[in-house]
């Protein structure tokens, strides 16, 4: 399909990131290659008594550095504010004028859209818990809704409530860029921003837009988010050593390390990129989406859905499995994901599987949930640019069952022309995007 003459080729002309390892792409990349960890004691709220007391937070971030209209975005949730920084960087690189009524970049705003995998804004926890505590009648075991409402009506604030909606990061990017093309937000758990990039690519391919501002923005480092993941026993509880807790594919892995942030790529039709004389960072050549239809709690034990998404992405790209130089895994550091993902890669790549480097940058960044796929896709773009594969850190005690080349503990110089990004989400959401070094033919 990618080779169909009727379809537009889709390239990447900009990228931006706000993440635990930095507020720009190069800082993040150097930290990832150096194997630094973003994880430390949680400071956003007092998590000291939670089963997991640490996380991979975005630190010292000031969104006002990225906008002249900070007043317009002041009520933005954490994800919205991260999105502003990531989008502003990506637009700058791609020569897209922001915050102006008279853009001089030659881009028709009706042909420029937005597609994010974005999550909720954090609840106002003081109000949320406070109203419940005020209204709950312990003896009667029932809620006095009048009491609940009296507290909620005072403590809940209108703009904070509005900013809990998942479409808000996209709203802020629209205000920043003036984008009037198709605007969508999806939330397919941990696979959301890979899906957003894939679907955005499809929009350009079929001609619905020339440019898509695509990626993800999310922060689940809030009391209810950590409560939820802790109850699912999905998070690492290695509280004495946060920076080594994310250890994908190792025998002692005990869960993922939650992170937060935003990552944006500018997708553009090759035609538009050439017309604007843009530097092309890579080409997006394939996308596959599938669902496990198995259990809401677990991945399919044989990786059925994951395999299908990889196979469909390869077919969509019109390449063979042997053409893939690098696999950027979902690699969460949970017992289940890492083992089933390994099985799925082996099922698709067969005897070649062990020869393809397959690393997890979640070992350094942590798991950015809705923003994970897009931030990891940026590391794929950089792997192609610099011909270097980022490492899987903390892999000192390999799981004997897991025998792929995970690029343990240090980056590897090698030729990378085709990179594949895998993302899998709770409920059996599987999304895969394949990118390639740009060449004319």
């Amino acid at each position: 399909m990618a080779h169909d003459e009727k379809n537009e080729r889709v390239v990447i002309t900009g990228m931006g990131i706000v993440c635990p390892l930095g507020h720009d792409v190069e800082t993040m990349w150097q930290a990832v290659l150096a194997g630094k960890s973003g994880a430390a004691k949680t400071t956003i709220f007092d998590a000291s008594t939670f089963p997991t007391t640490f996380s991979s937070e975005v630190k010292d971030y000031d969104f006002t550095k990225f906008t002249r209209n900070s007043n317009l975005h002041k009520d933005g949730n954490r994800g919205s504010k991260f999105a502003i920084g990531a989008a502003a960087q990506a637009c700058r690189q791609a020569g897209i004028d922001v915050e102006t009524d008279k853009p001089a970049d030659g881009i028709d705003r009706k042909r420029m859209g937005i597609y994010l995998g974005a999550g909720e804004g954090a609840a106002n926890h003081e109000a949320f818990f406070g109203a419940i505590a005020a209204g709950w009648d312990k003896q009667a075991n029932q809620m006095d809704w009048k009491k609940w409402a009296d507290v909620a009506a005072v403590k809940m604030k209108a703009m904070h409530e509005l900013e809990q909606e998942a479409n808000m990061p996209a709203a802020h990017i629209a205000m920043l860029t003036g984008a009037r093309g198709p605007s969508r937000s999806c939330l397919t758990a941990c696979a959301a921003s890979t899906q957003a990039v894939g679907e955005a690519m499809m929009m350009i391919r079929r001609g619905d837009a020339d440019i898509m501002i695509a990626g993800g923005a999310h922060s689940m480092i809030h009391p209810l988010g950590i409560t939820g993941f802790n109850r699912l026993t999905a998070l690492s509880t290695r509280n004495d050593s946060p920076e080594t807790a994310s250890r994908p594919f190792s025998a002692s892995r005990d869960g993922f390390v939650i992170g937060e942030g935003a990552a944006i790529v500018i997708l553009e039709s090759l035609r538009s990129a050439k017309k604007r004389k843009m530097k092309i960072l890579a080409e997006v050549i394939g996308y596959g989406s599938s669902s496990d239809a198995f259990r809401v709690t677990d991945m399919h034990e044989d990786g059925r859905g994951a395999i299908q998404a990889i196979v469909w992405a390869l077919a969509d790209a019109g390449i063979n499995s042997g053409d893939v130089d690098y696999i950027n895994t979902h690699g969460t550091s949970t017992a289940e994901n890492d083992s089933i993902e390994t099985k799925a890669i082996k099922a698709v790549f067969k005897d070649k599987a062990k020869n393809i480097p397959a690393s997890s940058v979640k070992s350094t960044l942590g798991h950015l949930i809705g923003a994970a796929g897009a931030s990891e896709l940026i590391t794929c773009i950089l792997a192609i640019r610099d011909n270097i594969v980022p490492p899987t850190m903390n892999l000192n005690d390999p799981d004997p069952q897991l025998d792929l080349d995970y690029v343990p503990n240090k980056p590897r110089k090698m030729q990378v022309d085709v990179a594949m990004k895998e993302s899998f989400g709770f409920g059996g959401q599987n999304n895969v995007v394949i990118i390639r070094r740009f060449r004319e033919n």
Binding site: E161, A171, S185, C186, L187, T188, R206, N230, S291, V296
Partner: protein, 438 residues
């Protein structure tokens, strides 16, 4: 919409007007109102005490025996989606694993699911014992929560509240292994999900797709949110029937509700091969965004809506002259209704006076992510029966609204119908349907 034609072959609706498409259409035709005083919780302390509530149901009846244990993991949003999907698939004549595992005739890899969902609101009652256990000196104590309260939260709690769980449960019940997406663009989620599902079929990634959305807005947190943002009316608490007044001079805010509206979309060749009843064809969609500094409302001139309509018309390769019915978003919030009316007028030009406009939320209430699916189903029913029911509660048009709101039920041969949606935050989407012609 590319070369592949995409048609609608199944309908499923759960709404404040009843548990089926038949109930909803009957209610809409007779001007029945699904809005009444909230019974899900005591609304005494809320400025808006009204909602559109789905009548009582037993979710077990909609779930195959083998999957009944999983209903305890279903929040109301998920239940509404499961019910609507069940009706849509049954209606389409497709036999999935969930309908009859012995006779299933759908290739799981060739069916997709694309739903709009809200951010499912936490069940306050479910959370209350854990919160109560975390109070120290009369105040909620986060340290006590981390140590004691958290342990009282049921282990799989989070899985009830992830928006993609609507699609995941339905996917498990009916064995849907193709592309799956969950659109979270608030009140326009359903419109977008339907548009994207049609795109997925058109590009060949599936032959069939379940599309639409479901949401329950009738929760204390979400109703309070809409009250605080001042989108919910506070003026009609004793008059549910007259509360939601889209495009009316007396409009004072929206009324929120719950529902699920899901359709079966299908590649036309696939539908023809199995002799399916074809309700309508999806011929165009368009999307844009409103850009407004006060982003709880859309921009006053409705430009984002105008652009979406123009794109959808272009994709359908038709002009405003061809449109026979518009179902607008029409929420009953004065400034948003006027903005939408202006946006539609700018796109439709001189045809504005002619085209019948039929808002449904005066009867269905504002069901968030469900409203796109419900409106598309209403449009299909109108097309099928050749009639447009009277709009309710628009007795005197608001100043600035030049739309032709349907006053009396009219007979009409509807060839093209347009459904328009938008949301706070600004996303806009338009879907155009055509009566099916071979």
């Amino acid at each position: 919409m590319n070369s592949t034609r995409v048609v609608i072959t199944g309908l499923g609706a759960v709404s404040p007007l009843g548990l089926t498409v038949g109930d909803m259409w009957d209610g809409l035709c007779t001007g029945r109102c699904g809005i009444s005083k909230i019974t899900a919780f005591d609304p005494a302390g809320f400025s808006c005490k009204l909602a559109g509530q789905v009548p009582d149901y037993k979710i077990q009846q909609y779930v195959p025996k083998s999957y009944r244990k999983a209903v305890k993991l279903m929040s109301r949003d998920i239940e509404l989606a499961v019910m609507a999907a069940n009706e849509a698939l049954t209606n389409s004549g497709l036999i999935t694993k969930g309908i009859d595992p012995e006779k299933a005739n759908v290739d799981p890899e060739r069916i997709a699911i694309n739903l709009g969902a809200g951010l499912i609101s936490c069940d306050v009652i479910e959370m209350a014992p854990a919160v109560a256990a975390s109070v120290a000196d009369g105040k909620f104590d986060i340290r006590k929560w981390g140590k004691e309260g958290l342990e009282l939260v049921t282990p799989l709690w989070l899985l009830k509240y992830l928006p993609n769980m609507l699609a995941c449960h339905i996917g498990i019940i009916h064995d849907i292994e193709g592309p799956s997406n969950t659109i979270t663009c608030a009140e326009v989620s359903g419109h977008i999900a339907i548009a994207e599902a049609a795109e997925i079929i058109a590009r060949g990634n599936s032959d069939i797709a379940l599309a639409g959305g479901a949401e329950s807005k009738v929760s204390p947190v979400l109703i309070m949110r809409q009250c605080l943002i001042k989108r919910a009316t506070s003026r009609h608490n004793d008059d549910g029937e007259g509360a939601c007044r889209p495009f009316d001079a007396g409009a004072s805010g929206s009324v929120f509700g719950d529902g699920g509206g899901i359709i079966v979309l299908e590649n036309v060749d696939n539908a023809a091969r199995r002799g399916a009843k074809i309700y309508a064809e999806m011929v165009g969609s368009g999307q844009s965004a409103s850009i407004n500094p006060a982003y709880e409302h859309i921009e006053p001139d409705g430009q984002g809506i105008t652009i979406a309509i123009e794109k959808a018309l272009a994709q359908a390769n038709i002009s405003p002259k061809d449109i026979d019915l518009i179902i607008p978003h029409g929420v009953g919030i004065p400034q948003d209704d006027i903005a939408e009316a202006k946006g539609i007028e700018a796109a439709m030009g001189l045809e504005t006076k002619r085209i019948p406009v039929w808002p449904t939320k005066s009867m269905l209430s504002n069901t968030g992510a469900a409203c796109g699916g419900l409106d598309v189903i209403a449009a299909v029913c109108a097309m099928r029966d050749g009639l447009i029911p009277a709009a309710k509660n628009c007795t005197k048009k608001a100043a600035g609204c030049n739309l032709n709101i349907v006053k009396e039920t009219i007979k009409a041969d509807i060839r093209y119908a347009l459904c328009c949606g938008y949301t706070y935050g600004g996303q806009t989407a338009v879907v155009i349907l055509r009566k099916f012609e071979n």
